[in-house]
Every structure is written in C-alpha cells, then in structure tokens.
C-alpha cells in the first residue's frame, strides 16, 4: 500500500499497534522486571510490603508509586529488604551446585552421555556415504552399551543422588525432565498408532472413532476438573481398587501414596489429555503421503513394518518434529494434571519437594501455599532462562516464525 506514506503512515501503524504494545508492556514486560527484582529480596508472607525509601523498591514496586501510595494496603510486619547476600534466594535453590562434589558429579553424568553424541556424529557422517560400513542401529546399540558400562564405572546413580542433594531447583527440574522423557514418547506412540489405524481406508465407523478419540482434547480445556476424576479413580477406595477387589479379590495399593505409582498415574492421565493432539497432527501429515509410494513398495515386496520405517515416518517427519518440540515444552509446563491428582505429593520429607512436584506445581506451591515470594520469583527467573533457551531452539526447529515474514 503505497497510497499514503511518510509520517502519517508511521502514525497509523503505531495507532493500530498501540493497545497491544501497552498491554504487553504492563502485563508482560513490567511484571518480568518486577519479578527479577523481587527475586533478590526477602519478600514473603510476613514481609509483603516494600520499604519505599530503598531506591529500587521506590521505582519498581507499584505499591510505592505516588498514585497508589494512599490506597496501598499498609502491612503489619516489617517491609521486605534486599536479601543478604543478594543472591540468597538463588543459592537456596541451587544450593551446593557450584561446590566441587556437585560439579564432579555433573561432569561424570555428562561423560556418561558422550557415547550418544559420538554415535549421532558418526551416523551423520555415515549417512552421507552410499554404503555405510555400519548400520545406524548398530552404532546406536554400541553407544547405548557404552553408556551403560560408563554408567556403572562412574556410578551414575550416585552422581545423580549427589546432584539431587544440591537444592530444590535441580531436583524439581530433573524430575520434570524425566516426566517429559517418559510422557512425550509414549504419547507420540499412542497418537501414531491411532492415526495409522484411522488413516486406513475402508474403515467402517471411522468418523465415530475420530469424534470419540478427540474428546480428551476438549477436556483439556478444563483439565483440572477431569484430572480430579482421575484422582478419584486411584483413591484408596477408588474405582481401580474396587475393580481389583471385585474381579481379582485383590487389595490394591494406596496408589497416590507411593512415589512410583503416583508418577505412573500422572503420566497415564497426562497421556489421556495430550494424545489427541499427536493423533490429529499425524493424521494431518499422513494425508500428504502419496499412495503410489505404498503401491510401489508393495510391488517390491516391502513388509508393512518396512513401509512404516522407510516411507511413512520419514515423510511425516517435517510435520511431526515441531509437534514433538512444542509438546515437550508444554509437558515441561504441565500443571493441572499433577496438581489435581497429587498436589505434588507424596511427601518425601519436611522442606523437600514431593515426589511429583514438577516445575509448575513447585512454583505454585511456593507462591500460594508457602508464600515465599522471594524464592518463588527466583525459581521463576531460573525457569524463565531455561524456557527462553528452549523457545529459541524450538523457534528454529519448528520454523513457526516463517509466519512473521
């Protein structure tokens, strides 16, 4: 549109964007800054209010702004101050991570993963050659064997235990990463199987199954309510235990009091919520695979398994990788399922995060139940940094930003 230009044009663009810019500044950018500031203070339930004579508090805390000073609630306790030392909330969370034993453990764990990196590089190299000296499966197998051997030699689990002792942050993050590592591949598998079946032609009742299998996606809009139903299934006197008693005359365990079972239940419930997303996106990707390829493969006598590995998966890869990355990020941020089912429990000891206290559950409990705002915001800043890196990576992988051009 070149009809109008110059200053008037810039003004128009600005007017169109202004509401969004203001909203983003007030509710996204400013809270982030305040958040970072709070993470260096001792603010908590008993010291909720600022000391406006401290320069930074006076500028950053809205309670100190002249407009709001009169209406702001007057705290009973003393005001919060800059923590002493300033990084105290961070050292509380990260604990002894930077002390020698933890660093050595971290180094050991990284060394254990080296074979996988080598295998990846070797395979990339081999992929360029017409006749690779070794099939990629064998390379991976060797890599995994050496990981196991290295793990035994360097005592991987002892190193992990040392790291887990360093403070809440690593415990919570590692547990969440483990949750993601279990949940996402399983969800993908379920979605893939269902999509492959639904994609086969001449399948009477396909529409019916498509609708029924889509239900959990809709339920995920009110995730916390349906997650409470899942919790009811696995209560001591819940549906599962009653079924076990009635059918097998077997007294089931108290599922949600066992760290392992509680995790399994949450993984199961979260798969329930999230498989339709994979199912739908794989189903969409399958539409673009031309049928002639399968016909040709049939003529060549390829088995269904070979067709899956050789045709289907490589061809739907471009659509699936973004879905995988995005799902991993959302799984990392999972809140409702775990909070409704276990609220982070079962407890593993006083002042320690519970067995299913994943990142968002921990953040929520620090804010709402412990009311330790200083530590909660420090935790938020650390997660912010992690998510920021993950997001940058995912933007590159998913190429969603091509819509920005």
């Amino acid at each position: 549109m070149s009809v109008w230009s110059g200053r008037r044009r810039a003004l128009t663009v600005l007017l169109f964007l202004l509401p969004t810019i203001i909203a983003v500044l007030i509710f996204n950018i400013y809270p982030t800054i305040l958040n970072i500031y709070t993470s260096f203070t001792t603010r908590n339930k008993y010291k909720p209010n600022p000391d406006c004579s401290v320069a930074l508090s006076g500028v950053l805390d809205p309670l100190c702004w002249p407009v709001f000073r009169d209406t702001a609630p007057v705290g009973l306790g003393e005001p919060y101050r800059i923590a002493d030392p300033p990084f105290k909330n961070y050292t509380d969370l990260l604990g002894k991570l930077f002390a020698p034993p933890a660093l050595i453990s971290l180094g050991k764990m990284l060394v254990c993963l080296v074979p996988l990196i080598i295998a990846n590089a070797v395979n990339k190299r081999f992929a360029k050659e017409v006749t690779p000296p070794l099939a990629s499966g064998w390379v991976w197998l060797m890599a995994i064997i050496s990981v196991v051997i290295l793990g035994f030699v360097l005592d991987f689990f002892a190193a992990l235990a040392t790291l887990m002792e360093t403070g809440d942050f690593l415990v919570v993050v590692l547990r969440t990463v483990m949750f993601v590592a279990i949940r996402v591949p399983l969800t993908f598998l379920v979605g893939l199987i269902l999509a492959l079946i639904l994609n086969s032609q001449h399948l009477p009742g396909r529409t019916f199954f498509r609708v029924v299998l889509f239900i959990p996606w809709g339920a995920s809009a009110v995730a916390i309510l349906i997650a409470l139903v899942w919790q009811f299934f696995f209560r001591d006197q819940g549906v599962i235990n009653q079924l076990l008693l009635a059918v097998f005359n077997y007294k089931g365990p108290v599922w949600l009091n066992s760290p392992v079972w509680a995790t399994v239940v949450i993984v199961l419930a979260d798969i329930w919520f999230s498989y339709p997303f994979f199912m739908v996106s794989i189903l969409g990707a399958l539409q673009s695979v031309p049928n002639e390829l399968y016909e040709a493969a049939d003529v060549d006598g390829a088995s269904p398994w070979q067709q899956l590995m050789g045709i289907t998966l490589p061809l739907i890869r471009p659509a699936i990788v973004p879905a995988l990355v995005l799902t991993s990020i959302t799984a990392f941020q999972m809140f409702g399922t775990a909070f409704a089912i276990t609220a982070g429990g079962p407890q593993l000891g006083a002042d320690k995060p519970g067995a299913t206290e994943y990142v968002m559950v921990y953040a929520y409990r620090q804010i709402y139940q412990v009311s330790n705002y200083g530590r909660a915001t420090a935790f938020a800043v650390l997660i912010f940094i992690m998510l920021f890196l993950a997001t940058l990576y995912s933007l590159r992988i998913t190429k969603i930003t091509k819509g920005a051009r």
């Binding site: 007030i26 305040l34 958040n35 032609q201 299998l213 899942w230 049928n291 930003t401």
Partner: protein, 281 residues
C-alpha cells in the same frame, strides 16, 4: 495403504480403536455416572454401576443449583471470560491487521517477541501481577482477573488473526484505497467483515482459555464465595471431606459437557492446523 488388510489385521485394528475409545470416554462417562448417584453410594459401587447408570437421581444437581452458590460461580466465570474475550479481540484485531498488512521496521521482531512471550507460563509472573493488581486496588476483584486474562489470551489472538488476515487477498483493500478509503476504513469496512469466521473461532478459543483457568482465578480472586469462579470453586469442593463427591461431579458435568460440545464442533478447525500460535498438547 490401499490394499485391503487381512481379517486378523482388521480385528486387531478394531480392538485397539475400541480399547482407546473406552479409555478416552470413560473418565467423562464416570463423571456423568457419579453425578447421578448419591454421595454415600459412591464408595460402595457394584461392578455394573461403574459402567452403567444402575441408579439415577437429580439430587446432586438440585443441591448444586439451588442450595450452593454454583450458579453464582458459573455467572462469574461467564462474565469474566466473556469480558476478557471481548477486550482481547478488540485489542488484537487491530494489531493483527497492522502486522498482516503493513511492512514496517521491527515488525518481524515484534511478532517473534509476542510468540516468545506466549510460551512463558503466566504462573511464573503471578507474584508480580498480583502485586500490581494490589497496588491498583483490583486484587480480589473481577476486573483485575479480566485484565490478566485479556493479556494472557492477547498473543494467541493476535497470531491467529494475523494468520487469517494473511490469507485474505489484499486486492479489495487496495481497490478501496484507490477510491480514497483510508487504512482505518479499509480495516473496519473490508477486512473485519471478511474475517468474521476467524474472529468467531478465535473468540471461542480465547474464551475457553479463560473459562478453564484455575491458577489465576484461584490466586487473584481467592474469596469470598460470591466472587469465586466455577473452576477453582469446584476444585475446593472436590477436595473438602465434608462435601459429597457427587456434588462436585454434578458441577463438573455442567461445566465440562458444554466445553466438550464446543471442541467437538471445532474439530475440523483443529485438524486443519490453523491455530498457529496456540498449539497445545
């Protein structure tokens, strides 16, 4: 895969499908069953009662609707979600139009900034937002919640609508501009009416985002009962020992079933993968 699969393959396929269909439907079905059963019978189910409505009463619904402030909670939720959706749409359509139609410096960076912001969970800035709302005097009030939701759904709406504006040919607007129509008229008279279907879908999805939220609603409006929203109120109902679980089930069914209907109605839309900025999983 064009060839007809063998009989055994077919049986296996249907076994998997039926198994997962039960898996998919059972939690919802169970909530419906539980909502029609009196509280003290929930724990003494017979086997058949777990799968079929062997007994049915509307007692739970009656108590929820007439003896508990459930209708108030529902109204509060509706009010907040509708207001947030309207605000969010008003703000985001103009931005989406500008981002789709005008080329200016910093446009790409702005879009990426929005996208990056949307991937950060709101929970992480909750402390700061609560502090801000306290200062303004909106903590514990619906308006504060509405503002928080508006910005929460803003990014999603902007990206979604921008994607749709991109698909509308620019020719019409150019023709109008040649006839002396300004950019604002081009926006309100031409682009907006054309974008009506996308506006509707975006509105529904933004509404759902606020409607099902638990964290903000629970923290920013903690009390009193008359101001609570449906989802956090139902959550505390389910976890209080003194309240029969059947009451919760009845309330949950009233909230969940319409939500499911809306999503099933929008299924085609999800399958076409148009929700660029709002991919969930």
């Amino acid at each position: 895969m064009s060839r007809k699969p063998s009989v055994w393959m077919r049986i296996l396929q249907y076994a998997v499908l039926i198994g997962f269909a039960i898996f998919a439907f059972y939690p919802v079905w169970f909530a419906i069953l539980a909502s029609g059963r009196l509280g003290d019978r929930l724990y003494t189910l017979n086997l058949a009662g777990m799968f079929f409505p062997t007994e049915w009463t509307f007692e739970n619904y009656r108590v929820m609707l007439f003896e508990r402030p459930f209708l108030t909670w529902l109204t509060n939720s509706l009010k907040v979600a509708v207001a947030a959706t309207i605000f969010s749409l008003i703000i985001s359509t103009s931005a989406a139009f500008a981002l789709s139609r005008f080329r200016f410096r910093g446009r790409e960076a702005f879009l990426i900034l929005l996208l990056a912001l949307s991937t950060f969970p709101g929970l992480l800035s909750l402390v700061a937002i609560a502090q801000l709302l306290t200062a303004v005097g909106l903590y514990g009030k619906h308006l504060g919640l509405i503002l928080a939701y508006t910005t929460g759904t803003l990014v999603f709406c902007t990206w979604n609508l921008k994607g749709y504006f991109d698909t509308i040919p620019i020719d019409l607007e150019e023709a109008a501009m040649l006839d002396g129509c300004g950019p604002v008229e081009a926006f309100t008279l031409i682009a907006l009416p054309l974008a009506r279907p996308a506006l509707a879908v975006t509105a529904i999805l933004a509404f759902m985002g606020s409607w099902g939220d638990f964290v903000f609603a629970g923290v920013l409006v903690p009390a009193p009962d008359s101001l609570k929203l449906a989802v956090p109120a139902l959550y505390s109902l389910a976890n209080s020992i003194s309240v029969p679980w059947g009451y919760f089930a009845a309330g949950a069914v009233i909230v969940v079933l319409p939500t499911l209907m809306v999503y099933l109605a929008l299924q085609r839309y999800f399958e076409s993968g148009l929700t660029v900025g709002g991919v969930k999983g």
